[in-house]
Symmetry: D2
Subunit: 345 residues, 4 copies
């Protein structure tokens, strides 16, 4: 199969290429970049020397529709929505790593993103690509809205407890910590080494675009209107994301029972690893891999459940889950090309 | 004045020496180390070459009482409590950077620390050295229990809002992030560079020794029994500590009013800097200095107050505040020897 | 095929397991650890949860000889030499990642390592596993002395120029820079995060064990007695190694001719990538992969050739090259199980 | 005294302000920024909240000449040369942290910098501000060309051995390693956190602007035409600079004699610390301070002297040395305002 990546010079794209290059069912990759069309890919990314040798192409929907069976969009906000519907109409599957198709309502999108997205009717065609939870729907679609990094770590961590009414729906606090790669390759003082090394800062407090996304799917799975408080922090590391989640326990339940409930919930899902009660995962323990590791702790003094969920923000939080969704959508084994062991140390 | 430091080879001690070396009222420092007595200090810390040239001494209470006017204890848990009462009896002021004198009850200490401390009657003699809040008491004592790093950042951030009933006393969540230096110089896998670089992990969840300390002084200042949930994380940086605090707003109050309330509360206290609403401090912005910077954000959607408080864990969180307390206790200007501008970048 | 790893809890071992777990020709791995026999492997390395589920075994040569076809030694100095000859005698292939079999002379070993190794006659049985240069010999042996990290980067960088007499044999300077993981998982102040973060230091200057190893094989390939000056530095990163090499140009030759000479020399060797003249590789450009990237620069002013050679010290500098040698020794494609694309960023 | 800083938003400027704010003889600082005139300084640098409260000014030579006694230029290349001569003519002392006045010949400047500088006659008026070596000349001038970071570390390390003919003048190799802050605050992929963290790269090999500067003053002090080979590397840390220098020993001299020679050479110069033979300084051991630490090692096998010289690139390599020069130029104690102990860890 031949696929294309649009947005070829960002970190999402280069991570997609890392997996696609070795994917047994992918024979060819076409790299499309608006800003750097014509440039050799290895010039932008010298680590790909002798691995990828092609010049990036300009974007043409016609050409893509003729040449490839699927397209990954690794573009900034408000780009993919202009091209995806036409491609899907022509039978090309699209996996969108941007946020354009993650919300149901274009007005809500505009409110949080500050820019436009597709019409409601087009948004309704997209399936949310949280692979473990929407497996059946992904299998049946041509258009996947690949989840954001924080929503992936948060939803996988919260849903078992919420759906089983172990915790209350109100008062949930999510304290996020992520490496700098999540901010992409474009330049700003916030990603300057001298500003971020030996430094930690909160950002986009109460205003992060992932808030409505998290709330939408928490509500969708529980049939309740759930509101969360989410505060992300940037940490002096390149990769890795942790969500530390605080929720009120609802009923008398032992820590061991909660652990078992989580194990049962993710039975058969290789990429979610539940840790024994009290063992909390560190971000490096999933580095470079598609795992989401979840640890649980009960605080009897304050009757809280504390959940620590970690992913590699560029893998399970972006490119890895996109590959997983491509596998599901095509009816392949979902682990195909994703068997990387975490790199440690 | 001549003072001594007991526990001379830890990071707390070396940071004390950094400030004491240039302190206008300190003429001599005696460095005491149990484990490395007889060794040249600059052998343990080559960056002190030609700055400190002395061999470390063994601990003798008699000698100390004869030679110095004050002693800083930068010792592990359950060491200082054996020596401090005798020194205070002899008229030597003691500033204890360990946790031995921070709690009121030796049984509670044993429960959280797992080791012993002084008798209740001795604990009662200590004044808690949170300089801004216990200024008068510090002035009148010979025994200061220097606060822990997390309690310093947390109490300074929470007390204005709690005392003025801006937030509810229940349901307070404190998500802590600190650099590796907080774990000291002794070796463990948790401080191994290859294990901690590009990594973030939660630790001591629900069991951290700073929990009873924070709760004691929150309760002391509000005359309420306050319980908090505190989850610390270790971050791949050397210095710096952030407490991100989540609390429920109690009344209709604007963000600007909260900011003003904080400014009024710390009027005249140079080392606490309140940021304009919406500007949240980063840890590096206090690097190497004695500042505690506090930022505030109101989340109207969930009716929460989010407070971000940052300190250098080794300065305002340890040695710097100890110097500040020495200044207050001796009736000197509290800023003496502490006028370092944060090092940035 | 079933293989064993002796020294199962070091970084070399865990990196071997990362590759062996996915190697198409390896069906089973036995993990042997002297110090932690009986312990679950994932307890030592939680990132291997659900990937490796075995308890580590004690070392028994008899058992190994019965159970496995090959053994990797990832042990400290002066361990493997006691066991390797017996295993080889029983027909088990051994790949030794320690230095025990890299030098020809046990006295020289003792002089540089300070401990003992095998007898001269046993050392003579080992083939040096610099895969690209000793391919034929590796194919024909049961005992591979896997090269050190610095010798790998240095020899691959220097030999084309030396063998073709582009540079003089005298006066070669090698300035090495490596991440902290090269020092292993055992604890010392030198690997303490707070001591190494934001820090760079030279170490073992003029005394590093890799000096005689580099000189042995430079001499071996050129039939000259070559002496080098080698100064390693430790850099605040986990993985990655760079050798910056300075040598006097011997003849009038253009930079382009040198580049071509290097390209010809490594024709057909996938894992050595020669960069275009003037483009110098960065360590991260080979992160997690088995590549050695080499860049070249000519300084006409001083008539020097500057060679920059980078590897991932744990992959091409240790475990990856060991897998490559296993592949060659068994007559398999040398790239089997080693097709990882560098992880970037 | 009142002084001004031109180029107020770069790292050089903010570091100057850190020292000037506490300098006993400086009463007022005027911050001039072309690009950000009118903006509050603490908006650009929030760590200066409540320390510096002024709006940055536009550049006017007239105003400066009327208002201040001295001006520091912390500007990019080819800016200061346009303003310095006029200010000096009006009796204002100028300390230029850029390279504009470091070379003798405007053509050579243009060749290495690619842009223009002052006329030869104006360049001749500048004194090179390597404080320890040109003390008398600095005392007598109004125009100091503050040295580059690499030249500072290199010249202090090489000159004692060269002047005393301990080493040969030919074949000197300087391998430089520096943190990212040396590249300044302006944005480029080379300072992007995700590109530089866990990474090391050589840059500007054989073409670095500091080469002619180093050669000029090596030659000046020895009356020989000295050429060096200099290869800088960027290291994943913010501050710190190391020069590892390789030179051929010229005569039979013991390591101890060399150490003594260095100690004698820097007798009375507080800011240069010579380490005992075999103890090599790490960059963090001078962090935040004005020290240059020098370590020495003799390699008998290859008859080389290896010198390791470390500075904080923003202090002794820029702002600290500029303050030192201001002190000397004004006839003050050269340590005034510079007594910071290195921050460790």
């Amino acid at each position: 199969m031949k696929v294309a990546i649009v947005g070829g010079t960002g970190y999402g794209a280069v991570e997609l290429i890392r997996f696609l290059e070795r994917h047994p069912n992918i024979k060819e990759i076409k790299i499309v970049s608006h800003s750097q069309a014509g440039k050799a890919f290895e010039e932008a990314y010298p680590h790909m020397t002798q691995i990828v040798s092609q010049h990036m192409s300009a974007l043409s929907i016609e050409e893509l529709a003729n040449e490839v069976e699927g397209v990954f969009f690794a573009t900034p906000s408000s780009v993919s929505y202009k091209y995806v519907p036409a491609l899907v109409d022509k039978g090309v599957f699209c996996i969108d790593l941007s946020g354009d198709f993650r919300l149901a309502d274009p007005e809500q999108y505009e409110q949080w993103y500050g820019t436009k997205t597709a019409a409601k009717v087009d948004l309704a065609k997209a399936v949310y690509g949280l692979s473990e939870l929407y497996h059946q729907q992904i299998k049946a679609t041509k258009l996947v809205a690949n989840p954001g990094c924080y929503p992936t770590a948060t939803l996988l961590a919260l849903l078992p407890a919420l759906e089983h009414k172990v915790i209350k729906e109100t008062g949930i606090i999510i304290d996020g910590k992520t490496g700098v790669s999540g901010a992409g390759r474009s330049m700003s003082l916030a990603v300057h080494f001298s500003e971020m090394n030996e430094n930690t800062r909160a950002y986009n407090v109460c205003q992060h675009k992932h808030i409505p996304e998290i709330e939408r799917y928490l509500s969708d799975r529980t049939n309740k209107e759930i509101q969360i408080n989410f505060t992300p922090h940037i940490i002096p590391m390149t990769r890795g994301l942790m969500a530390t989640i605080y929720a009120d326990l609802q009923e008398l339940i032992t820590a061991e029972e909660i652990e078992q409930l989580y194990r049962d919930y993710y039975q058969g899902h290789t990429f979610v690893r539940i840790r024994p009660i009290g063992q909390l995962p560190a971000t490096k323990e999933v580095y470079g891999s598609n795992y989401c590791d979840i640890g649980l702790q009960v605080d009897r003094r304050t009757n809280k459940l504390i959940i620590v969920s970690v992913i590699d923000n560029l893998v399970k939080g972006a490119a890895g889950q996109a590959i997983q969704n491509m596998n599901i959508l095509n009816g392949w084994d979902e682990q195909l090309g994703l068997n990387d062991v975490p790199i440690y140390p």
